[in-house]
Subunit: 203 residues, 2 copies
């Protein structure tokens, strides 16, 4: 599997520390149908993985420094309660963010992928945030901000998809597949937030 670095701290994909998803593979298949995700989208995502592979650092910099850092409401989630930077937290979570781009494009959407989607979501809730990096920061990322920022992840990827000389149809196809995958993932990420909402509403 293609990785953005030899060591990615806290990246536990396919390890025993990742719990089984409470979402079934059958529910995942149904979600694919609802989102309109087809085998053609899988092919376009593989293409996108090749196109984006050497741009992941630049893309995550764009998201983190170019966008999130300028929105106090979002930036606080990687800072201390006093608003100070936590460089190690940023560095480590940025690497995982980079790897997530590749995983979105290149991993098969199987049980391991499903389990890791749940892990990703949990790490944004009060159940797990800050733990992978042993830091002190906000206790959770509100679900609404994840929904809203997904639009940014979708809008901003297009120029990077167009950077390698693919035809306009290929760029459009890769972008469509990327958007569908993100919305599919968002549907999966919503599950831990809903499961948790009875004790802690992290909207």
């Amino acid at each position: 599997m293609k990785k953005v670095a030899d060591e990615i701290c806290g990246y536990t994909y396919r390890t025993a520390t990742v719990a089984a998803s409470t979402v079934s593979l059958e529910e995942l298949e149904q979600l694919k149908v609802t989102v309109g995700f087809t085998p053609e989208d899988e092919r376009f995502l593989r293409m996108a993985g090749e196109v984006l592979a050497d741009q992941t650092k630049q893309i995550v910099e764009h998201w983190r420094s170019g966008i999130i850092a300028g929105i106090p409401n979002l930036a606080r989630h990687s800072r201390t309660p006093e608003g100070e930077l936590i460089p190690r937290y940023l560095a480590q979570s940025n690497l995982r963010f980079e790897q997530w781009i590749l995983d979105t494009c290149l991993r098969p959407y199987d049980q391991d992928w499903l389990n890791y989607q749940q892990e990703i979501a949990l790490r944004h809730t009060s159940l797990r945030k800050n733990q992978a990096d042993a830091v002190q920061s906000t206790t959770y990322v509100p679900f609404r901000d994840i929904v809203a920022f997904t639009a940014v992840l979708n809008d901003t990827i297009r120029p990077y998809l167009a950077n390698k000389g693919n035809s306009p149809d290929e760029v459009a196809g890769m972008h469509r597949a990327w958007g569908r995958s993100l919305q599919l993932q968002l549907a999966l990420w919503s599950r831990p937030y809903l499961d948790l909402a009875g004790t802690s509403c992290e909207w």
Copy 2:
């Protein structure tokens, strides 16, 4: 305000029957920032409203008959528990669906709009589904299907935006604004589902 019909059964926008949203205008403004929604997007949405105004019937037909009807998991939400069609329910909710297109493009995103977003979401949960039309159907639409189908609402609108001879830049701008608005609305729709999840997890 532009309406798709003189009488739209169950369309209660700006009436006293619509409760105040539990989301504040300040939270809405923060969400706009997160989603990247700007005054330019507002202008593009106004343009989209003009472009789509005489196409709403065709668009909703496309979504309902062309897509939802072919996905049993989604189609069941407008049918009886035995799977029979409920023509009146479809006709009435289709008109509201058409009006929602115009409201997305042409309404100011103010307190009334915020309140009606909550009303729309509640009508998909077990708290309110079927009530506006006094029908018997599924008790709720799972939140995950709303997230996933938002990708379809976003993918499929583009050709309609391109139908009136606007420049490629205008079509791209209208489409970007539409996608941002949908994700903003999705963030708002998630609130009633999270509030309800302690007693009924409708993921």
